[in-house]
Subunit: 212 residues, 2 copies
DNA sequence: TTAGTTGTTAACCAAGTGGTTAAACTATTT
DNA sequence: AAATAGTTTAACCACTTGGTTAACAACTAA
């Protein structure tokens, strides 16, 4: 109902929870600390979110749906503009980078939830997927499949390629904190990410495109 | 000193800790639970490992050094056998898959530690790196660089490519527990991993090799 | 004005939680 | 056999933690 700045207590708690959970993980996070970060009494957290598990579920729902919507919006815009297969794939890589980079807290929580195969994930994804059968994943998959039919891409396995693209875009944000062990010393991160995007697109396109 | 079955209390605690920490993360793990899993009194955990932080550090050291040694051994064997650039890269991808697949507990703890950029990581890596300046990473890097000079590989950025290879091999083990959201329903995992390895090598090689 | 609903707080509690201790038990050394 | 050092345990403790409660304020509706 309140699409204003939404500075309600509930929203403040949610934002505080995201911040703390990103730092310390679900188990490492204390309800008291969330309340403190939000600047309100701990009882309020229970008033609005019942318990820790439920709060965590709401956090996941928020994260998945926000990230989903960001990618979904941009990709479907490209498709409706009639952009070509190559550009759609390349842009989807860019959008993923944007998304992960813009929301490091979201990314951290996602990694944690995914790698631990948390039970909450299916529930969180329900919210995201229940309105449409379409998703960024299905868009990319269709683009790859169609690109193969039209002799733009080699006969790669679309699902495997999809997984590979996800991994190749995800890895930097997963290992951001220890990236120096790759022998890197990143001074300007924005610049680094741009060269990384170029390098990823270069590798994937040479990997997928038909040789002439 | 004891390279036997090493069924000492200390070793039992370490193995129990790895198992529990993989399941519940560092913060979610209770010292009591580790003791119970190891079948000994909790005080023994403190006797051998002082405190939780130190136990966790020892766990990380064990994991990193075991995984490091496995890859290191296999890659340097290939190099000393005089294998070619392409085969070295392809095999290193296979070895990573083997490593991650054989030790899911290790992989989970690694992901957790890396994504949270834990302070213990540098300390844990010291143990691994202090004896030699060589590492699996440096071997791959050198192979890529040399392959470019010899006109086998395209003029890719070696470090970026190294990161990409890491991501592409890692992603399945990161998302293993929610892989069905990619539209997959894996019945025979061993078989799946083999097709995944093939697909990864195919994509990377087409991405790297010079076109003729 | 008043009665109900919603939002907020300080104080509280039972169940853990990491960590300790003192005593006992078991090799090993002299 | 006695002293020494290493290993193991039950019981303990101070403190934290998720969750509750009862009273109170503030807004809303009649």
């Amino acid at each position: 109902m309140n699409s204003q700045i939404d500075n309600t207590s509930k929203e403040k708690i949610l934002r505080a929870a995201i911040k703390i959970i990103a730092q310390k993980g679900k188990h490492g996070t204390r309800m008291d600390e969330i309340a403190q970060e939000a600047g309100i009494n701990k009882a309020m957290v229970y008033y609005y979110f019942s318990n820790k598990d439920n709060l965590f579920l709401e956090v996941l729902k928020t994260i998945f749906s926000e990230m989903y919507q960001h990618s979904m919006h941009k990709i479907s815009e490209d498709i409706s503009k009639g952009k070509g297969h190559i550009e759609i794939i390349n842009n989807s890589i860019r959008y993923s980078f944007e998304s992960y980079n813009k929301n490091p807290d979201y990314t951290r929580i996602m990694i944690d939830a995914i790698s631990n195969g948390m039970d909450e994930i299916p529930k969180a994804l329900e919210v995201v997927y229940n309105n449409s059968t379409l998703s960024p994943v299905s868009y990319i998959l269709n683009t790859i499949e169609d690109g193969i039919k039209k002799n733009i891409f080699r006969e790669v396995d679309p699902v495997q390629t999809m997984i590979s693209i996800t991994g190749i875009t995800f890895i930097y944000f997963l290992s951001r904190n220890i990236i120096n062990f790759f022998g890197l010393n990143i001074e300007n991160e924005e610049e680094f990410i741009n060269t990384r995007i170029q390098s990823v697109i270069d590798l994937i396109m040479h990997g997928m495109l038909i040789r002439e």
